[in-house]
Symmetry: C2
Subunit: 637 residues, 2 copies
């Protein structure tokens, strides 16, 4: 890492940074951990009244952007809002089924939550509503507790309870600025989990798609395929399959067109609604429902009814609802925050993750009290929203208004909508969750990440969403733990014609200096890795001496440890250094440090380690240290 001698005559002294007071030291660490984005910065040096306004604007960003809102923005938002409404209505009806709820609950969840989000959220492009993966996860977790068919009422109550606690979880994480917790799910694990969930959801749709009446409740691929094959002789309904297939092909073609030609994205956006209209009309005319084509039949008319009283606040189900809400809430959060960040990066505006979580949490709490289940940001609808030219969250309000009108007046029109068309819409929607390219890139970049990705994928497909999620989280954590226990170390050599020392593996032309071993430690030294680092350094030395002995060369006399990447050290780390020093002393090898950073230098001083090895054993650069160790070795660049 280091290099270039600081000066050939007298080396530059490694500085100890100015001492902080204990409280300052603690509070600056705390601030960087929890308030790294400095959220109170705009409030500084402002009069009292202005602070209140700023505070209100912080909680309700609509107060801020609403003041510059104009007609041209409104036009864009109306078009985008209508487009995502046309997309969300058929999806909602289908997703509600994934959660084992009646269709109207999907629509409810596209009415209240988007309104709340529009007031409090800071993303301009996200489209709020029920999404496939969370619906499936919620449905799976809930039916582990209560049978949705036999005890529909209790099941619904538990669903609202879980939604309530999902909201509480999300808001709490935001308020306590623990938003970074969702960063613990690795990208690779999410890619695998999403792809697995997409396959599982698509498999579930085979029921509606093939018109099978008796279907397994398990979600793993083996049970589902078993169910499908078993019912092949008598259970498949050919008119259903015909309708489903025709429209699935139509939807996939529309999707493909929309992807290839960005200008024609609206084709893919309105295709689902168009399919629903055509298929419904077709069934109504031919009365195909009399030939076994299953139809939606009935969607309750009218807007969301209050459901506060249905939430379990006492009894056994509180804890179960809390657990389910916690898991589903975290998954929903991960999805929404990822969407928010992606589109913010595209339009180059900033999103405050913690504030966003408070908005999502509040919206789900409000939802749980108005007969909604967990809503979050939908990736496909957000992309359409973005491409239709939305400017602000007003597009969500427009969508919400359209859903309201649908609930009030249009639900009877869905009576003859065949279930097969909803299955086709869901299948065509979830295929885009399978991200081959990402998986291939992961394979190329990091083999361990790929194992995590596949682990989550196969976990979901062959076991269940919960198992897949558990695998994803475990592998993510294992990777972090490996990272902190097994830091890399590298052998450095001098790059020819320079004064720069670099990893010999990367620059095979770099040469070692006789009698001097230069090792770089690539991590902070903490209790979790201090023993490993000490042992690893000794092993480098033993290996090197073995090689030297085999070659009949004199043994190593100096061990230069390049400390540039060592950003911090704790008491265990200092113990390890002391033990290392003692072991080296016994082997008559001198320990030399190059470029310890400010924090490390401070701690080495306080712990008297500097006095132990001698201040003249610490240099600003590796080149300086080498010069001291082998004076005859003049640095000619």
């Amino acid at each position: 890492m280091d290099d270039g001698s600081s000066s050939s005559s007298s080396p530059y002294k490694v500085a100890v940074p100015p001492k902080q007071k204990p409280w300052e030291e603690f509070s600056s660490g705390f601030k960087e951990a929890f308030f790294s984005d400095d959220p109170l910065r705009p409030f500084k040096h402002q009069p009292g009244a202005r602070k209140i306004i700023l505070g209100l604007q912080a909680v309700f960003p609509i107060l801020e952007w609403g003041r510059n809102y104009d007609l041209s923005k409104f036009k864009g938002d109306v078009v985008a809002g209508l487009t995502i409404a046309s997309l969300c209505i058929p999806q909602d009806i289908g997703y509600a089924k994934l959660a084992n709820l009646s269709p109207q609950y999907g629509l409810y969840s596209s009415f209240v939550p988007p309104l709340v989000y529009a007031l409090m959220g800071s993303s301009r492009d996200i489209a709020i509503g029920p999404v496939a993966v969370v619906s499936l996860l919620l449905g799976t977790l809930l039916q582990n507790e209560i049978d949705p068919v036999e005890n529909g009422y209790e099941y619904r109550r538990l669903a609202f309870t879980a939604t309530f606690f999902a909201g509480v979880t999300q808001a709490t994480l935001g308020i306590f600025r623990l938003g970074f917790l969702i960063d613990f799910l690795s990208h690779a694990a999410i890619v695998g989990f999403m792809a697995g969930a997409a396959i599982t959801i698509a498999l579930q749709q085979l029921k509606g798609f093939l018109g099978i009446v008796k279907f397994t409740k398990e979600s793993d691929i083996i049970s589902v395929m078993n169910s499908v094959v078993k019912s092949a002789h008598h259970g498949w309904n050919w008119p259903t399959i015909l309708i489903g297939s025709v429209f699935l092909v139509f939807l996939l073609v529309a999707k493909h067109v929309g992807k290839k030609k960005k200008k024609l994205f609206w084709v893919s956006a309105i295709a689902p609604l168009l399919s629903v209209v055509l298929a419904t009309f077709f069934v109504y005319i031919t009365r195909a429902d009399r030939h076994g084509v299953q139809i939606v039949k009935h969607i309750e008319k009218g807007i969301n009814r209050p459901s506060v009283k249905q939430i379990y606040f006492t009894g056994d189900y509180v804890l179960k609802g809390l657990k389910i809400g916690l898991v589903a809430g975290m998954v929903g959060l991960t999805e929404a925050v990822a969407i928010g960040r992606t589109f913010a990066a595209m339009k180059d505006y900033q999103i405050d993750g913690n504030k966003e979580m408070v908005a999502l949490g509040t919206m789900n709490i409000a939802g749980s009290m108005t007969s909604c289940y967990i809503a979050t940001g939908s990736f496909s609808r957000s992309a359409v929203n973005y491409m239709s030219g939305c400017h602000t969250a007003v597009s969500n309000i427009v969508m919400s208004a359209v859903v309201l009108l649908t609930l009030l007046f249009l639900t009877p029109l869905f009576k003859y909508t065949p279930n097969a068309i909803l299955s086709s819409i869901i299948i065509s929607a979830v295929v885009s969750l399978i991200d081959y390219d990402a998986a291939i890139l992961i394979w190329k970049i990091d083999k361990f990440d790929f194992v995590a990705c596949m682990g989550a994928f196969f976990g979901v497909v062959f076991a269940s969403v919960e198992v897949g999620l558990l695998i994803a989280v475990s592998i993510s954590f294992a990777k972090l733990l490996l990272q902190v226990t097994r830091p890399r170390t590298a052998l450095l050599g001098k790059i020819p014609r320079t004064n720069v020392y670099r990893n010999i593996l990367q620059y095979p032309e770099a040469t070692q200096i006789s009698g001097v071993l230069i090792i770089r430690i690539d991590s902070a030294i903490y209790f979790s890795n201090s023993n490993y680092i000490r042992e690893r350094l000794l092993r480098w030395l033993i290996d090197e001496d073995e090689k030297l002995r085999a070659g009949g060369l004199p043994k190593t006399r100096f061990l230069i440890v390049e400390m540039s990447p060592v950003t911090d050290i704790d008491t265990s780390g200092i113990h390890a250094l002391q033990e290392l020093y003692r072991s080296l002393e016994k082997r008559s090898v001198e320990l030399v440090l190059a470029n310890p950073g400010p924090v490390v230098m401070d701690k080495l001083h306080v712990s008297k380690f500097v006095d132990m090895i001698g201040e003249d054993k610490i240099y600003l650069t590796v080149a300086d240290a080498v010069q001291m160790c082998s004076p005859k070795f003049v640095d000619v660049v």
Copy 2:
């Protein structure tokens, strides 16, 4: 961190390392994680028969060192063995009480486990037997499940079950090479936990010390002090207090003498046995037991009876035993491995942590089948062992033999031993677990570590050992998580008269270069920190531009990211870099990288990020990069 331009005319090209095959890449990572010490190395290039011998020696190190064993070593071991035996016998009797077991179980545990360890262990200085903290922890956890007074037999069975599973846990961790798991308990947390446990144990001894009959079962300081004060009027027994105090003073003075003059360490080593002999004799003569001085009364004569059949292998208690064994086994392991490492470092020999765990595990499994409870390495006795001049684990065999003789012939002699003397011995033993100096050093070095230390301490003292342990583990993990989510970043400047760029906070004399912002990222970029790093870099830029604007200076045109400490990057990290690049593009700031390491360079290539920013934007050193960014800035050293 970087520095020294590689050459003033044409910069040295950053190399991409030779490509590894996927399997090699994965297996080398796996090897470094689990076999970093290369345990199979001596087996290489050896004939078959030799491999078997080496294998046996690996499992039973006694076969290796036993061959060079001679009389002079034996003399040292006998002296050391007799000394630690004199120390362990009274301690064992007292510690058994902490675990709510009869005194003989403490002696049993100093007989079988040390023998097994002597065959399999690789530490030469550790003294095996029951220890105070593990005894207390085991006692607390067990009595949460079964009342030791009312259901003595079941309680004992659960104790053996827990011991069995503690052994299984330890051996399993060793066999699967998961020894690094114990590194997750931070030094600071251990210091706090141990001090808290010492206080708790000392408080428990007030019962015996004051001769109180009715005493609380809780271990927190408030319940205990309450109990002590309440019984002040009628419950305290003055003869007991007199005996206890006199000998406590004697023990503490002896301890002090032993500490001050290394030559007189034997004074502190034999003081406990001497006290027991004197106190017992005194009570026997004065018949003080008739005046309310409580005595040991009865220790069962004879050696350990088999207890395999008493271990629960079926029923509800299996799971409880497993849980208790897991916790107590891990704590015991932490203590033993720490002791092994400390003394190995003093005498400069290597200890294989994983092999050590297998030895400790086997010894506890054997113990659980011969009426022993969990044994581990005792810090105080190991220190005495070391100072008495032990050479090998034979000192443990000698100690074990003395304990055997005691069990066979001497137990009746303990009949009149007053409980108060045992309490005094335990109090004087545990005070050395309170390590003020370590706590003060922790305060000086790291304030966060100090919070962890105090958290564990107060958790044990005011709640219970379990709570304290839970706090210690949680805080340790929180620290690791913070480490991986909130890496440091530093603003670099040029150190005057050199070509070296260093942290401006550490070297206030370092100067920034106009139009160029140089930031170092001090960690690998992973999913857990990629978003933070991206946001943090942007914030550095925004802050800097604000300052420049205030000063009327031109804004930043180049962001040089010093990547030396970035040892690895995953897909999320690359996404973050891409997003950063796009954000910078919108602000017309150019992104320049300095010195990406081999792994990072490889991944940047594979992911086409190099093509995105241009190969001419990557330099070997910061100095090279600066030269490109501001050509007018000539590097005059």
